[in-house]
Symmetry: C2
Subunit: 141 residues, 2 copies
DNA sequence: ATCTTTGCAAACTTTTTGCACCAAT
DNA sequence: ATTGGTGCAAAAAGTTTGCAAAGAT
């Protein structure tokens, strides 16, 4: 799936929801699709501003909220303070190095065992995608 | 180990490190030891203020920082925004319900398998205590 | 006497909100 | 013509910092 197709798909979902296809949204979603990884609202804002200097950070947040409601985007708290946003097309878990901040993405399936055990013993259903797991990456041991 | 012993132990560690035993610190650590679970800086401040109305929230933060440097306290980001602090004597992982905010503590050992696999495949060492795992508790399914 | 710790006020960072205007349908 | 989206400014929430005064050693 190309970036253009991805963009169109998201725009279509927005329209279905009764949303409007504004310049700002197009720019934000384009930037999000283009930046292939995890971005903070701030970073996204910088990218968007390159082409559309008038798009306000507030609008970024509101757009990301909307996309999250639709289920297209998810956000994760990687560290102290800021959150990062990413497209939701492949679900993965984040390992974040406490030292160098590197983000390692690992398949969700690694957590299946843990999830099953926690479910069995505590009745708790893990939804792991929302928070990062911290530690030390290979390079920083 | 009684609360009083625990308090004394922590005060001793502080002293060893060249720290001073102030009224504020005594009050904060007492409150921390007394409140048997996870507290936000704010909650801790409220408890401390009951007996010592003059201890400022800033001081709470600075004291918690110091205790964290010593290794006595750890803090965890349970949700969006505030962090919770807890004594470091039994290491456990936090499961937090996204709906009712309940905190379920589970033994660290549940994560051993996951940690081993992540270590093997990605060279990443998980230090899981720092962040919460989100999901739905038994009552909120 | 020294040097850490404290209180206070103010800054800071990230995110949210109120409101009048604009623009997509 | 609607009504949802946007920009702006300002508030909120949580935490940190600078500095002079207080307090522990």
């Amino acid at each position: 799936m190309s970036d253009a197709e991805r963009l169109d798909g998201i725009l279509a979902m927005l329209r279905e929801r009764g949303g409007r296809l504004t310049t700002a949204r197009r720019a934000i979603i384009t930037a999000l699709v283009g930046s292939r990884s995890h971005v903070t609202a701030d970073e996204l804002s910088a990218t968007v501003r390159a082409a559309h200097p008038d798009v306000h950070l507030t609008t970024i947040y509101r757009c990301l909220d909307t996309l999250e409601e639709i289920g297209v985007v998810d956000h994760v708290h990687l560290g102290h303070g800021r959150a990062v946003y990413h497209l939701n097309d492949e679900i993965h878990q984040h390992l974040v190095c406490e030292r160098c901040q590197a983000v390692v993405e690992v398949p969700d399936s690694l957590f299946d065992d843990l999830a099953a055990r926690v479910k069995g013993r505590y009745g708790f259903t893990i939804r792991p995608h929302h928070f990062a797991v911290l530690g030390r990456c290979a390079a920083c041991q």
